[in-house]
Structures are given as C-alpha cells and as structure tokens.
Assembly symmetry: C2
Homo-oligomer: 428 residues x 2
C-alpha cells in the first residue's frame, strides 16, 4: 500500500528526531518522511524535562563544533528568522575550588585559541556580584561533607539557556510546512530486519542472507521504509537490543527541582554578570549541583549530576524523589547559598539521559539502511542542530556534514566504526 | 565478623574469574580471596559451552599480546608443568574467497613482521589435502545463497583448540592449594555501594560523599570485601547497571551443534595439514560458519557467528535452536562440504557471549575498589591468562602488567578511560 511506505521513518519526536526530520526534509525535498512518536504530541518526553542549558565551552573539537554551531543556529532562528525560542545568553558560571581551577588552567589556553569566550572571576568579584554566595563554607555540616572553598570562577560568555519545546516547535513547524508527516500516539515495538533479496521463504532472513531494515512494527501495524532513523533517546536500547546492535547507551534518571521564595530574589537578580542582570547558569564546586534561574517565573531549577550508585534503569514515567533533594542536593546548595536553607521544592520532575559512558558525545552511525542517533548524554539540546545535519549527511551517503556556519565535519568520526571524537577535558 | 570479610571477592568462577583468582593469590600470598559462583561448581557456565579454539593471528597489539601470551602459558602448563589441558595446536584454516583474500593481503606483512606464523594454501593444495571440499559451489542453492568460490586459504600455525574446563581446573587447583576459597551455589544479587567515610545516617551514600564498594549482597547475606572483581561475563551488566556503570557489553547467544557420521571420517582425518592429521579448526567463506574437529569423539562441533538480527538478550538457560542449524548453518556447510548433507546434530547447546561492540577486545578497568573484566566477545578462553594478570596488576595499583613470557603491557590501555586497544583488522 502506497500510504504504508515512506522513504524515511524517524522514530521519536524529541528535539533530535525533529531536527533530523527538518534537515532531511529540507535537503531532500522530494523525500517522504514520517516521524513516529508514542506520545500524543511531539516533545512530550525527555526533551521537555531538560534544564536546557547550552554552552560552547568544550575542549574536544567535536563538542566545540556540535555545540558551537547549534548555539549559532539558535541565535539565527531567534534573531534572523524572528522565531522566539527564549534563547537567553546569560552565561555559565563554574564556581571552582583550588583543585578544580588547577585543572581548568591546563585547558584554558586551548579553549582561548579556539575562540571560546570566557573570563575568570576572583573571590573579590564574586563576593561583590553574588553577596549570597558563601565562599568558604565553615559550618559543622560543611566539614562533615568536606566542602571546599570557592577559589575562582570561570564564566562562559556565549552560553545560556533556551526553551527546548520552542526550538522543537520551530523544527516541527518547518518540517510540517515542507510536507513532513507525523504518526502520533503510536509505539514502535521493533524495527523489522529483512533479507535484502527476499526469497519468500518462512524463517527469512537467514544467516547467509544480506540483511537490511524493512520498516517498523507498531501497535497499529507495519510501516515500510527505505531508511529508518532511530532518534528515541533513552528508549533506543530497547529497539537496538532486539536487532543485536549496541548503541553503547544506557538510560539514567536525572531529576529537576523548582524552588521559589522571596529569599531567593537577590540571588536571582544578580547584577553585572550579564545583560539580563540575572544569576548565570551556575555550577557549584561539589556534587555536580547546578542552578538555572528563571527570571520570569521568579524561581530556580536545581539539579545534580549523580553518577555511581544511580542505576541505569528505564522507567516509563520517571519521578523525582523528594529525599534526593532533601538529603543530597539541599545540603550542598544551602551551604554555598544559604538563601536556599530549608526551602522545599514547589515542583519537581525527572527525565532520562541516554548516557554514552565511552566519551559522553553523540553516537551517529549508519548500519545498512538504519541511522542511529543516540548517546546525547544530557547534551542533546545544545547539540540538536548539528546532530540533525549529521543524520542528513549519513542519509545522503555523504562523508562530510556541513554544520551551521558552514563548518565541515567528517561524519565517520561520530560513528562507532571509526570513532574519533577526542577526549573532553572540560568536565569540571 | 571476621569470616564475612575478604580482601578480595571475585564474582564468577568461569575461566576469567579463576585466572584472576589464581594470579591475585599467587602474587599477593597473604591476601584472603573468595570466589563466589551461582552454580554448584566452578566452570558450569558459558566457559564450558565454548568451542574453545585459540589463535594468535591478530593485527592489533593488544590482541596479539593477550592471545599470544595466553597460548604460550597454556603450552607451559601442558608441557612444562605436565598438567593436561588438551591443548592441540592443530592450526586454524580460513577458507577465503577472492575478496576476503584481498583484505588478508593488506594485513599479511604486518602479521609476519610481528612473528605470527602462518602460510597461504592455494586451490591445488586444498583440493589435494581436503578432497571433501567443494572449491566452487555451483548448485542452484549455492546460487540463491550467493556463495563464492574458495580462492585461497590461510593457515595459522600456532593456533588450535584447548579444553577450557581443564585450563580452569588448573587455575582452580592451584588457587585452592594456595588457600583460596570458594562460595558455590550462591547468586550475587548486587555490589553494595557505600560512603568511603560513613556517618551512620540512613540514606547513605549521599551525592556529596565519596563512594566505594563495600562488598556483595548474595542470596545468603552480605559479605564485605576491600576489593570486588567482577568476572561474571554475560551476567556482568546486571550488576553494573544497578551501580550505574556501563561495562559496554551486551549478552548474545551463540549455538554449537555436534555432528557425527561415517561420512565425515575422511574430512576428520585430513592429512598433511598438521602433525595430528586432523582437519584444522576451519572457517568457511560465508556466514561465519566454522568447524572444530574432535578426533577422539569422531565428530565435529559446528557453529556460526550470527550478528545483526540476533538480539542482545539474557537467558538463564540458553538453548540451541534446531531451525537455526537446519536453515542457517546446514545450507552453507553442506554446499562447501557435502559430506554434511542431511546430517542432523546428535547434540547441541548454547552459551552467552559478553559482546563488546566497540572493539571486541576485553575491557579491564578499575573503578574505585571494583575491578571489572568484561567484553571477552567470544575470545575469553584464548585470552584468559593475560586477563587474569591485568586484573592482578590493577589490584596491585600497578601501571603495567607482565604477561606470560614477561611481555609488558600498560594496563590503562585496556580500560575505558584511556582506552587504546587499536583496531583489529583480522576479522575475516
């Protein structure tokens, strides 16, 4: 049936699937494209649950190109195209202890040479700009936790925050305008493996046959495709495991807590660190605790990067854990920023990262006529546009992708077979 | 309780766990070591289900060192120590089509320079030595399957087969003799994560605490350990996922079929290719089908390497599938070697590979006080001794491991953080 075959089927209508759909449709106008999404509407999954910060402060070339070109594209969408995506370049602020700053000094020149804009703030400047900040936590609790003093801060100037649902809406609208289709509320249960040259025998494909992907099985039946793009984030391993393909990713829960109080107003309205006169997106020296200000909502989103001890585990509807805030995040937060002391979250939620433990960099690979785009590791939103362009380059069997700003990148570097993404050193 | 704490607990009594136990106990005599195994005896899991072929024909330095030194150690055990492990260096024989031989020519000199002993056989020699071999399959079925002709063969001369249960028995006996302990019939349900500096509060470890591994939870209670070694092969991801550690491995089933018939006797007794006058361990040009001769049992083990389409999936008791032999293995086998036509397997079984899709090379990494040894990818038996020595080097916090024959290797190359194992080119 003609309506049950597409040139391209994209699994997942998060920001990655939508960016891929947009770029494939834009660069291959005659191509029929279907985006299949299990939720009733696009962008209802993990994309919507992100704290959605974007930064270009990376040492590895792939990360710099991916994030830098995506941020430039976001500027273009907001400024040149006039499509509001709430891009706010309020900067990133890493509060570093002496040991962390030493690590930073080892990578500082390399980043500067690559044109990444940042500045270093000393304790006097920090005390002046952020009077709520305790530079040297000294309470009994601080000692028990072994908290270290803030030695310096590094401010990434071309960094900030964005509204991922609006970025996604941009991709979605443009994709629809070009004739792209959606199938919503439909779960993809498997990708069908078929023999390239089918014999019509039961039991195909056999070991001795060359295999390709025939399309997708869904709760509503089979849909054929010439190419399948797998962009379903933390759900991708389910489909990949059934094919015997390892995307090298595992799902891990990350939680976000929203806090609002008059006691936070002065911190929120931090002066002089950006044009917006708001606290930058700020990372504390300990526990991977970070804060995103929401000036309009007069609140903060707070989260922490927990690693060992937080299982790899898939949940349909992951939930935030109040005890996680109370006993893990709040103790650190309230020592460095006592204005948070005893505040309870007014709201909380959780999403799933698709963690690539190898190098925390996206894995974009073509396997026969299937293209996988996984392993965003929590940086999918700041790299979405580059990922979509690399997927399109793979779709077109091109060796090189042109990222926004016409920066070129060899696509095989981002795959598994010839992976060469380099080691990211800015992991403070 | 003193009896419930060990210096080292090793999870898994397969060949890898036993090699690690042996080397740790041998090199750290005062150390208390416990090997915990869910089966009622050692070596009842996937080690026992392997076809147990060993080869040194690799292009990557790590594979050459790991397999080469392990084979040398096996020779030492059998010859110098007089412990029979049924090591039979009957050689490997790759039957290659023209395209595959071209690939081989690209790596031939590199292997020769590294002292790997092999020779190339032409069609005349093959026809003379193996009269049962069809060099140019020409049947209707062959055409449908697209089978290619045998162009040349490559014979790896220092390769062969071994009895993994006997190798394991060697490690086990020596380990016991040195005072090493076992806890059998005991399933490890998790590795316990604890705070390095415990406060005695409920909910520990918290995000702000440094974490270490405290020991193992088992069906029979908790056992404390200063170091935990995870050597449980295809079962390792269960324990690792719960810790939030990705060992980059997935379980995949591999099946073995045993065939016996008078029609196979001439093939079995192939003359002139080795001292034993037996068919070498032989790989067909198509479908990854390979044969291991068993001269004493007057039979062959036959298996095939199926890849895409064979899911990653864990099963407690994986079983061989008769249809897999009938429709996938037999069609290829009987075209190149018609003496197998219409023979049915007299026996079959299946085991699980712990597949590392990144580079098919073992991953041996220390994470705090846990050492993981996973990703054997089907070559654990031919690398067991080197893996055990690298585990011991990590246990001793040494940068370098001395493999058998005093070959040195930097251990961080084998881990994830600074992985540099190189690409294996001999994957025909």
């Amino acid at each position: 049936m003609e309506t049950n075959r597409y040139d391209v089927i994209i699994v997942g209508a998060g920001i990655i699937g939508l960016s891929a759909a947009y770029h494939i449709k834009e660069n291959n106008p005659g191509t029929s494209v279907l985006v299949v999404e299990r939720k009733a509407a696009p962008v209802q999954g993990d994309t919507a649950k992100s704290v959605a910060a974007v930064r270009d402060t990376f040492t590895s070339e792939v990360n710099r190109l991916f994030a830098g070109s995506t941020i430039d594209f976001y500027k273009h969408v907001q400024t040149d195209l006039g499509f509001n995506i709430n891009l706010d370049l309020i900067s990133y602020l890493w509060l570093l202890d002496a040991h962390q700053f030493k690590t930073f000094e080892g990578i500082e020149n390399g980043m500067r040479e690559h044109g990444i804009r940042f500045r270093v703030l000393d304790r006097t400047e920090l005390a002046e700009h952020i009077p709520d900040l305790v530079l040297d936590p000294a309470s009994e609790e601080s000692k028990i936790m072994g908290l270290t003093g803030v030695h310096k801060a590094v401010q990434g100037l071309d960094c900030g925050t964005v509204a991922p649902e609006l970025v996604s809406k941009f991709y979605e609208d443009e994709y629809r305008r070009m004739g792209g289709e959606f199938l919503l509320g439909t779960e993809v249960t498997s990708i069908r493996v078929v023999a390239k040259d089918q014999l019509g025998l039961p039991g195909e494909p056999f070991v001795w046959q060359e295999k390709v992907f025939g399309g997708i099985e869904t709760g509503k039946g089979f849909i054929a495709a010439d190419t399948v793009v797998l962009a379903s984030g933390a759900r991708a391993p389910f489909l990949l495991d059934r094919l015997g393909i390892d995307g090298l990713v595992r799902p891990k829960k990350r939680q976000v807590f929203q806090l609002r109080s008059e006691s936070l107003n002065r911190l929120l309205e931090t002066k002089g660190l950006n044009e917006q006169n708001v606290l930058p997106f700020t990372i504390l020296p300990r526990g991977g605790v970070y804060l995103r200000p929401l000036k309009r909502e007069r609140s903060f989103w707070v989260a922490a990067a927990d690693d060992i001890g937080r299982p790899f585990s898939y949940e349909e509807e992951p939930a935030a854990e109040e005890n996680y805030y109370t006993y893990n995040v709040h103790p650190i937060l309230s020592e460095y920023l006592p204005c948070f002391t005893n505040l309870r979250p007014m709201n909380s939620w959780a999403g799933l990262y698709d963690i690539n433990s190898l190098d925390s960099t996206p894995i974009i690979e073509r396997i026969s006529n299937c293209i996988i785009a996984t392993g965003m590791s929590g940086s999918g939103i700041m790299k979405s546009d580059a990922v979509g362009r690399v997927v399109d380059a793979l779709y077109q069997h091109r060796d090189e992708a042109a990222l926004f700003g016409n920066k070129k990148i060899n696509v095989s570097r981002i795959g598994l077979e010839n992976r060469a993404v380099g080691k990211e050193e800015f992991v403070i």
